[in-house]
Symmetry: C3
Subunit: 269 residues, 3 copies
């Protein structure tokens, strides 16, 4: 009995090689009617935090699915491979925190297994390509109806590796935040949920002074890019409803030298 | 009743983020059996002209389809979202000219609506992500059989924003043209239709002197790249049957500093 | 009667233009239920050897399929278009060696035809876009059940263009090899099959001195990247089970200036 019709795939494999296609092929051998949607394969090599963030941004828009993610600098070492049930979907990948942000956003892990059932792996497994040899064949079998418990030994969900949550704090003058991620356009997502913005005083029509690392810039808080002139910076609630900093038609991360983890003070005026 | 089995998707979203996948997910939630073909997501950010050109190059090869295109520097401002019927297909996107070249090539707009029916949008819509929140869900519903008229208020097709057509003029000596677009290899497509080339004297075996911005180069007019030595420039009728300039195994746009809009005189010798 | 449900596609077309999508569209017009998997479209322009290598890496993981590959610097010249049967699959593309490595890996060509049956081509064919006008429509028809012999005139399989095989030689001290290919991460695949590594003395725990072009470096032979410190070089059996050189979290090809064809001596210590 098919459990999931939809499988998503996110990696740092790049698009120049056959790695992604080979994983698709392995899945399609198991489940020919699976609908595979690539989320991205351009996560910077080994950047688990970035992979986790992009995965968490994508998952809420999918129907129940098997989400396979592989950003795995520890491939072939002792780190576990896992499958986690959360929010009616399954998440398959290395137990290095990559899945943790999406799993938390989906309501938290309900059950998890370590992928120890070698009968589900490809016959020969390379120490450096678990995406092809373990994660994808197991994920495809789970999509095709294999019960989660048959993929391996149970793992206490509290023992799964999780990434530290980006912090934010609202105060009288505004908020203390940090940079969570930078998208391909250089738009800078902060750790403050959009829904909390009004409580920090951030409403359209205000200005906000961003201060970080000895630098400072004051920008308008607006609804959309078209409200400022091309080349001008702005603060807004982004498509994922996080407070974010951008430059209209430009690259805010580059202009302001902002990167994930940068701490910033927002002062509303 | 399913109206269209095929949906195409073109944007400037890039491939590093989850934006494209999220739009796929939204469409698949509405119409799980939809076949989505990505045209490209590497249109330079905000380059409406380039997006319009690439869309127009692709559409003629598809069966009747819903074509969704989003290159939308004015997202969230007063510019309309539209759905346009032309040549038996539907075109969905911002009313900024992006759809206009493909619509004209498909025989011109037959009917159009402004996407004002909010019941078809996602429940919450971000001011900066209409691709996900408006264009894609509406397009998927149209593919699934929703009558065009239910997507919003009718718009006079003569009131749709259209891009100016690139001009060309055949004269005794050859032709006056302009650069329309540059592909990923640096091949330079001119505004002269291949079918008009013989009338301008451009037939295999001739030479043509290209003159622009005080520069001049004489190149052979050939049928295919293999007729000139590697590194040599050439003029030819390209895959879309437009007169074009290339360098065998090289990048003509970079070598000759040609960009869309550059005016050029062709003199056949 | 459908012969193949799966079609793969590999080119040097890049992802910025509509070229790939147009080829998908042409195939879907012929065979709407075809499942098309893109292997890669980022083969460096005209690099037949690299295209052949990537194709050969991908094919073994697919079910029986029609594999279409187009890296074709001689498009429009006298080089043949071919369809080749090997290992229960069909390979379609230019007869310039691009298909030859995958065909050999699949057990060698059983039958081949020159794609001379113009009735199967698109009505108008551009001299520079055989992917769209010849290879894809013919391949889609073959997938849909057209007998191979109807695609054109038979070709002696011994007359097909083949690329020279990378050489390797095991000796007392280790092996003589050459660089076969470099993946998107800069990992350097050598011409020595992983299964032969033990015979050359390469087993986990040994060290190997690589010597090429007057340079020399000694690296550990390991099973996986995690066994060396970040930034350190290593030698290992890669995902395709070839002996390879890498730098943990780095780019070995760039660091050691290695490129396809470089000859190298491996001395085990």
């Amino acid at each position: 009995m098919v459990q999931f019709h939809c499988l998503t795939f996110l990696t740092d494999y790049g698009l120049e090689d056959a790695f992604v296609a080979v994983c698709h092929a392995v899945a399609l051998q198991v489940a020919p009617d699976l609908q595979i949607t690539d989320i991205t394969h351009l996560v910077p090599l080994g950047d688990v935090r970035r992979g986790a963030t992009v995965l968490a941004q994508a998952v809420p828009y999918f129907p129940p699915a098997v989400h396979v993610a592989v950003v795995d600098p520890g491939v072939g070492t002792a780190r576990r491979g896992i499958a986690v049930e959360a929010g009616g979907s399954l998440f398959v990948g290395p137990d290095n925190g990559l899945l943790s942000v999406a799993v938390a956003a989906a309501g938290g892990a309900v059950r998890a297994v370590s992928l120890t059932n070698r009968a589900l792996w490809r016959d020969t497994t390379a120490a450096t390509f678990h995406g092809r040899d373990i994660f994808m064949p197991v994920a495809a079998r789970l999509a095709a109806g294999l019960p989660l418990g048959e993929a391996g030994d149970p793992v206490e969900v509290t023992r799964l590796v999780t990434l530290p949550q980006p912090r934010w704090l609202i105060n009288r003058a505004g908020a203390q935040v940090e940079v969570v991620t930078v998208d391909g356009f250089g738009n800078v997502q902060l750790s403050l949920p959009g829904a909390e913005a009004p409580r920090a005083g951030l409403i359209p029509g205000t200005s906000v002074t961003l201060a970080w690392a000895g630098r400072e810039v004051t920008v308008p808080f607006v609804t959309t890019f078209g409200e400022v002139a091309p080349g001008e910076p702005l603060c807004y609630r982004d498509g994922g409803d996080w407070v974010a900093v951008a430059v209209a038609g430009g690259n805010a991360a580059r202009r302001f030298e902002l990167r994930p983890g940068t701490r910033m003070t927002l002062t509303v005026t």
